[in-house]
């Protein structure tokens, strides 16, 4: 799963530790999500979306976007 977390965090000038504290998770968790090594649970994804005032699908995109065929 790709995500825009690092970009959005940089725009707000937050460190990983600051974001982690706001979410109530460890800095390692924030780093693992940003680097795509860990996909967050739905509650955490909603918390991220709420924090960055984005929709979940604006924050996270699947690695292989499905090909839309013409009908």
């Amino acid at each position: 799963m790709k995500n825009r977390l690092r970009l959005l965090r940089a725009e707000r000038d937050w460190s990983q530790a600051e974001l982690a504290e706001r979410l109530g998770v460890s800095r390692q968790t924030v780093n693992a999500i940003e680097t795509g090594k860990y996909d967050p649970s739905l509650p955490l994804a909603f918390a991220l979306a709420r924090l960055f005032e984005q929709r979940i699908e604006e924050l996270f995109q699947p690695d292989d976007t499905p090909v839309v065929r013409n009908p």
């Binding site: 982690a20 504290e21 706001r22 979410l23 109530g24 998770v25 460890s26 390692q28 968790t29 780093n31 693992a32 090594k37 860990y38 967050p40 649970s41 509650p43 955490l44 909603f46 918390a47």
Partner: protein, 136 residues
Amino acid sequence: MNSRAVTPAPSRRSLVLSFLVPAAFVLAYFAARAGIEEVEPGSAIALALALFPVPFFALLIYAYVRAVRGMDELGRRMQLEALAFAFPIAVLVVFTVGLLDLAGFHGTHDWDLPRLWPLMLLPYWAGLALAQRRYA
């Protein structure tokens, strides 16, 4: 949905559960072992000594479960992966030692279960290190 705003600082209670409880169990275990070697095998006192560490281990399980519940979701995932790695290895060790015993290879007390079980922590630590590396 449950999302905490701030990661709580470790309380004195959690520190006690993290350090004192494991230390108490280790002390109880080695005290029981030392005591058992001094009393008559099969006696009531030997039975009492053999069961002496059980409540300490129960407390250890409580402390571990509490610690895992206090972790965030990635911490819990890493604990699960460490245990998923360690548990089958522990089962493998137990049944292999049991089969070796049945096969008549029970002469060496260096490799019996009471001496072997502390080594079962090694796969857990290895699994935890692998999980830490995976998500680092």
